[in-house]
Symmetry: C2
Subunit: 334 residues, 2 copies
């Protein structure tokens, strides 16, 4: 049975990462981690007529590939835990409907991948599942027109804004006690410091990231240097600076031990996206490619993955409400 310390959960029947798969769009494929992804769409349309269907197709391709890599059929899978940014999570429901796998839909905005991993790890811990898949996606074109403006407007974006990543990551978890595993996790609380600027989500999410990371370090009595890297996804350039300041107020120095997926996925000079990447596909695609590759190569042995989500909607923005945020964390070890 899992053990708790504060709000942190330590798993006993651990979920082992048996296979990962990632798919991205053209722009992400041209970024610094382009070579790590399993599939790069040549035009971000994934052969579909609409961007929403492209996102669903991307999920389908990614899950099929993770099944193939793990040598499993969809009939072997006890549960798939999925989510995305689209209204009513249609990226997941249309992408996964043909797989015939019991499905748990989760929503945590850009924190969804960590939430999905925690949910599957819990089901493996409880005995409710022997094998499960976590998957999340985002798509620049479907997100941009839903959250902001039609792409055709070519709207100018402020420097604090982030670029929604076209990407998807899937992870197959089981009990096979081989390779990297989910050691512990912390489900985040909603933090709301009153920020109302939907173009500065890094600032809205940084307090949630700080709350979850500081809480985890305290519950585990560890310091940042105990981990190969503390990853966040996705604070971007603006949010990362704020996270460092908030952690320092708690006497924790993250600089030098931290990396943000939103800052990593695009080349700042060559692919100007202002404050970096975002979207639940950003951290999911990098986690399920580069990060797990580093585990495979023995370069990582112990990381924290803290995914952050801004819990706004276009309606809440129009109603001039604040941007509440949440951050969920998993510790992956080998």
């Amino acid at each position: 049975m899992a053990v708790k310390s504060g709000k942190t959960v330590f798993f006993e029947n651990r979920a082992y990462i048996s296979a990962v798969s990632s798919s991205v769009g053209k722009k992400e494929g041209e970024g610094p981690f382009g070579n790590y992804f399993d599939y790069v769409s040549k035009d971000s349309r994934f052969g579909q007529k609409t961007y929403e269907q492209a996102e669903s197709e991307m999920q389908k391709i990614t899950v099929r590939r993770v099944l193939q890599k793990a040598g499993k059929e969809s009939g072997n899978i006890d549960v798939i835990c999925a989510g995305d940014l689209l209204n009513q999570c249609i990226g997941s429901s249309f992408g996964l409907k043909e797989l015939n796998i019991p499905i748990i839909g989760v929503y945590g905005a850009c924190s969804t991948m960590a939430l999905s991993l925690i949910t599957v790890a819990n089901m493996i811990e409880s005995g409710a599942a022997d094998i499960g898949i976590s998957v999340t996606s985002s798509h620049f074109c479907s997100a941009e027109r839903q959250y902001r403006f039609p792409l055709e407007y070519g709207s100018q974006r402020p420097m604090t804004s982030q670029w929604t990543v076209t990407g998807c990551g899937a992870m197959l978890l089981n009990r096979e006690q081989k390779g990297a595993y989910i050691h512990s996790a912390r489900i985040g609380k909603i933090c709301d410091l009153g920020i109302k600027d939907q173009n500065n989500m890094g600032a809205a999410m940084a307090p949630a990231a700080a709350d979850t990371i500081v809480g985890y370090l305290r519950d585990t009595d560890t310091v940042p240097s105990d981990y190969d890297v503390i990853f966040t996804g996705d604070l971007g350039f603006t949010g990362t600076e704020l996270l460092y300041r908030l952690a320092e107020e708690e006497s924790i120095r993250l600089e030098g031990h931290h990396a943000d997926f939103g800052k990593m996925i695009f080349d700042r000079e060559r692919q100007d996206v202002h404050s970096g990447g975002s979207g639940c596909g950003c951290s999911a695609s990098l986690l399920c490619s580069y990060v797990m590759d580093m585990f495979e190569k023995g370069k990582y042995k112990n990381i924290l993955y803290c995914a952050t989500g801004a819990l706004l909607s276009p309606t809440s923005v129009l109603q001039k409400l604040t941007v509440p945020a949440v951050a969920h964390l998993v510790n992956i070890r080998i």
Copy 2:
């Protein structure tokens, strides 16, 4: 540890239902179960300026009341699992942000309450949580303008359409081994029979309900008469007829052992809502009032609660896609 039979999970460290609370709008308060709800808003606005904020306020009121009934503070709660129908689930995030409870956002359209109960039950089983809350809501006015037309249009509705319930239900689960508990559960797979009529969601959801209920009865080697009632939520009048036909094809006769929350919540003669109620607040509010009251009074000892969700969005409808559906089931016993 939980045990599986087929896709059905039997819990060992069971989640006991320590307290329930429900809130509804004016129309639901005037319905046949009006006296069972804890809180009836006099105008469905719950004192707020917008309908979305009214829905959030309804969640807040309901969770505060369930905490009060159970004699707990929000600091005692390990996890709250919440969801609603609004884009990016803002009903939950804005409703619960001040509670400071670790939050798992779930999305299963109108099946969300069952999904939320399964998720919390799993965390109690795994040891990740000792006390958790499940909560879901829907609001007629926020849903109608999001999914269909501005209320001011006064659009005519076809006879197969259902009326989104303004309602919320919250359940506090713990390990105290007292009263009713969640015995077993089945997470549903997505079923898609190709229905494209967004005004006939009962028909879209009936195959998912049949798949989950028939699967559960087979995995447990039970028949409908073994249960006090098999509840679905919310197939309405049209979907219920179809469910009976689909179950009969599998040689299972549900008639006489089944009730649908969508058919129950409004008076068909007095409050004409065509095919009945819907929305994740429909089954949540009736489960967390009337149904648990029947357990308390000793009238129910063993029920199935199968919540169904139509996984469409206005975008998928405009793109002329089908309506995939899912149904999740929990067995509550005393």
